[in-house]
Chain length 408, copies 2
């Protein structure tokens, strides 16, 4: 018997029929003798519908407090519907909203951070043989006001609950059956990973694998909550995300991620003086534009080229800002490219193996793919290439690192 | 400067455009220097949509606790949207859910009764120059669970808040511009009443005038909260509902109500013995069928005829129950009619004037309308007639009692 926190996303509870299916799935765990706490998102599309009504009325700068009251209603609908579904098939269940537990957060409406969870009510429900069905995505601040955790918030709710309850496992039940070595739509031989480390998953999530929100992975890693990504709709063990173990096979590369929603901007020929980076990136940050990769090459002439990437949707805005300050920073030229892609290989095995980078660059060269930018961390290497080569690059790398093969 | 509680029903907040209109309307009151507390219902159709999803999953006997969590989400959406709307036109506003105030109720889920309202938070908001926007229909029990007040619950929320805050007036803003002498769709010359007493309104509401829920009228009467029914969509004073005053003109008859959703059942020739009424009505009540009028005529032969009316939708079920017990109660015959209508005249003036009943019966006789049942109270007379005569009866009575004329 284990204590398991299960999170079901918007697609899994997208209509009445699917909610019935989730109830049946939860029942199987209960029948096997497990204690189960369920966390649900709003029905798919519902949060967007609510946000768009709110924006219709108040524009995009409406009160964050009221937007939170508005969007939190979506999870209120699904916790009650799922509880009704569980009760109707004979499973004791009870819905809990964030303030009823309480899931205490700071008061940054729209992207609040969980500070504390009181597990008393949940523990009492579990002890009474009842399945608590908890509203994801929402919290409550010290004033008793509703807060929300931002995109991917329900994953974070589930992980935080699992940590607070010292659950044996946190299952993220979704519409894919696990984490893959790469996008199966690009590489047919992509293989579901049986397990992966938090660090690797964090890199993959940050690099464009949409399965889990990076924040929830980080949270799970910090509190060492075993996290499992699995399918709501079909049986299977999914992918277990845990801390690195000595006896774990450590493949050189665990997975390949790609992202095509970026753009790069180069400021060429600026004086190589202290403070130039903040002069360039300060106004970008002030405009709430997120910067991903940053590269600076120093030339011999006392001038430097400065390149960074932003989300493609921010490309025009970022260029305008730089044009406005180009005289101020004495730039020779500002150029950009919004038809780029980022391809990354991730693996804890890289730490102890040299030559991974070389193998990656050789592979891309042999396909005549030019590398525009490189950025590395201890367990990943990312390159920026022209967008039109992205599938070719991913397939070639998947093949070179033999990801289709099960590790020995 | 007055303290006014305004309640907006589902039609008034039926879409984003209408919510904007409500915000503008509230702003006018604020600009005039009034303190305003707003109570809103869910968007029209939303509560039904939620209930139908809940029933889809759990049938009609789903957990009442969870149905309350589900349906209460509807008001959560409208309080936040209206707050966003107010803020966006420069009116300070803040949404409040039942548990944030708190609106304490008993724990009869689905038809909870308000026990206590803590006005501290609302008073603080008002003192800060803010419009509190309160979720109607919902409450919270001692366990911190969401309860709902049943149909018409938002009217009751508004009246209870007005009583607790000692508001100067409670305005029920709706899609009609007041209470009429009778249904204007039947009588063209029907006139909007400038005022009416709680007792009269209570009778009219119970008798089929759909403007206000009887419970809210009763509540307003008990706590002497001046209640005003008025239009959300057009200007005008509406109808003021207050306690009877000496200097009020007291027309003989204030209004005429009619209802065509009833049916009558007659049990003929049952022994006239003590306990016979409960033998007949006991099983009816046990089946959750509401009985309206009850008549019993005693004959000379020790037998009695027993007639009562039920909602038309319960007609078949009630007949089946009586057939099943007819031998037990020794009934000679059970018959019924589901093509009946109830027409009622209501007026506090009846108390002090004889002859009102005679005038009513004469009027109906002169139109050759047969009266099947009669029931009276201090301030109303109801008759049951064949449904096909209902418009004719209402028009004739409206004319005879000269309701189209303004009282002197």
């Amino acid at each position: 018997m284990a204590l398991i926190v299960q999170k079901y996303g918007g697609t899994s509870v997208g209509d009445v029929e699917r909610i019935r299916g989730v109830a049946e799935r939860v029942k199987r765990y209960v029948d096997e003798g497990h204690e189960v706490v369920v966390v649900v998102s709003a029905m798919s599309g519902e949060t967007n519908r609510l946000v768009s009504m709110g924006r219709d009325i108040a524009g995009s700068r409406g009160s964050a407090r009221e937007m939170d009251v508005l969007t939190a209603s979506g999870e209120q609908v699904t916790v009650s519907l799922l509880s009704l579904g569980l009760l109707s098939i004979g499973v004791q269940a009870k819905s809990f909203l964030a303030d009823q537990i309480a899931i205490k957060t700071d008061d940054v409406h729209g992207k609040a951070r969980i500070q504390e969870i009181d597990t008393k009510a949940l523990r009492a429900a579990l002890d009474a043989g009842c399945v608590p069905v908890v509203a994801g995505f929402q919290g409550v601040n010290d004033l008793g006001e509703i807060t929300t955790l931002g995109r991917g918030g329900s994953d974070t709710s589930a992980v935080a609950l699992a940590a607070a309850l010292k659950a044996d496992e946190c299952e993220i039940c979704t519409d894919v059956d696990g984490v893959y070595t790469t996008d199966p739509r690009i590489v047919e031989s992509a293989r579901r990973l049986t397990h992966i480390t938090f660090e690797e998953m964090l890199e993959l999530a940050s690099l464009g694998s949409k399965v889990l929100h990076p924040r929830s992975v980080e949270f799970a890693g910090r509190y060492r909550v075993p996290l499992r990504v699995m399918s709501t709709f079909q049986d299977g063990p999914g992918t277990l995300i845990t801390t690195e173990k000595d006896d774990m096979e450590q493949p050189l590369v665990s997975g390949i991620a790609h992202a095509i929603d970026e753009a790069k901007i180069t400021i060429a020929g600026v004086p190589d003086l202290p403070g130039i980076a903040s002069k360039i990136l300060g106004p970008i940050g002030a405009a709430n534009i997120e910067v991903d990769m940053i590269l600076q090459n120093t030339g011999a002439d006392g001038l430097t080229d400065f390149t960074f990437t932003v989300k493609r949707q921010d490309y025009d805005a970022a260029q305008k800002i730089l044009q406005a300050i180009s005289r101020d920073i004495n730039a020779r030229e500002i150029s950009g490219d919004n038809e780029i892609a980022k391809v990354s290989i991730v693996g804890v095995g890289m730490r102890s193996h040299a030559g991974v980078a070389t193998k990656m660059f050789d592979c891309l060269a042999s396909e005549s793919i030019n590398i525009q930018m490189i950025s590395t961390s201890e367990i990943k290497i990312s390159v920026v290439i022209a967008e039109r080569y992205v599938e070719l690059a991913v397939r070639a790398l998947h093949n070179v690192f033999e990801l289709q093969k099960l590790p020995e």
